[in-house]
């Protein structure tokens, strides 16, 4: 699977000291992302899993497979919270 990553477009968010604070307008729930998740939030919009894994692999000098596995795990967690989605249509 190599879907395109998107933020939930319904959410309001701001970067505070390098980390994301996100509000869900429907229920006013506040989410705070840690540094890693904030980086993903910032840099992943419109990218595919492979593209982002490649970028993380290069920037953090980790194996591409490791980066991708970590990324999948993180995106699954963000998806559970309805913060980010991996679009199934963009499988490549």
């Amino acid at each position: 699977m190599n879907g395109q990553i998107t933020r939930n477009p319904k959410l309001a968010w701001r970067e505070v000291d390098g980390e994301m604070v996100i509000i869900s307008p429907e229920d006013s729930q506040v989410h705070e992302l840690n540094e890693t998740a904030s980086l993903v939030w910032k840099h992943s919009e419109g990218k595919t899993l492979d593209e982002l894994a490649e970028k993380i692999s290069a920037e953090y000098e980790v194996a591409r497979e490791t980066a991708r596995a970590d990324l999948e795990e993180l995106l699954a967690a963000l998806g559970e919270k309805q913060l980010m989605f991996v679009s199934p249509e963009a499988k490549g």
Binding site: L11, A12, R14, V16, P25
Partner: protein, 255 residues
Amino acid sequence: MEPLDNCRPLQISIGSVPLSLFIRDEALLEPAARRYREFAHDSENGFPIVLKKTEARTPESGEFSYLLDDAGLILRSQGAEFHGVRHEYALDSLLRILLTMVLLPQRGFLLHGATVVRDGRAYIFFGRSGAGKSTVASLSPKGSVLTDEISLLRYSNGCWQAHGTPFWGEFRAAGQNRLVPVAGLYLLEQASQERVETLDARQALRALLPCVLFFANEKPAHETLLRTLLGLIEQIPCHRLHFRRNAEFWRVVAA
């Protein structure tokens, strides 16, 4: 929004927002006039609010609406309708909701907090119900409390100002309609010893968000709120105040 014919509005101003309340029901007008007497205003161009006895209608596209038990608010850019208001408490609640919406684009908001003036500057003690807002107010000199329950903060004339509000808590003061530059924000936390802890931007935002009165459920409104709060936090120091519910807290606050 058509004002009522032959109905002289009750003119008030809260947070420098002039409001014209068209209340036909005498049984409601009299307590409302008493409740907001400190906030009486002579502007004839206040934002019109028409009170109607009917149940709230279905809002049209572009209107903000909010239902509160039997009463309801419908807001659009030219004015507001309050429906089904039977007592001053419902009127008070709808006014708070209305103000949150009207103030938002003007870099203003309402906060669950007491505002106390000391040496010409406003100290905002905020927190959820039971945090100690009324205690702080009751421990402060008479005449220094702008509100013991709902603080109104607004950026104007190049700085953040705290406005008095008529929204009372246990302290039952009538409020004072004046504005004072904000010195600091203090999240109340009961403790065994007075201590002030400075919060960073994220901690401050985390502390403030649950205490802001906010009723919109749309993304742009929340984006504006976040921008407004971060603007505040950039300029005004935010702290956690550990206090013992006695007047000793001023020792660490005004230090």
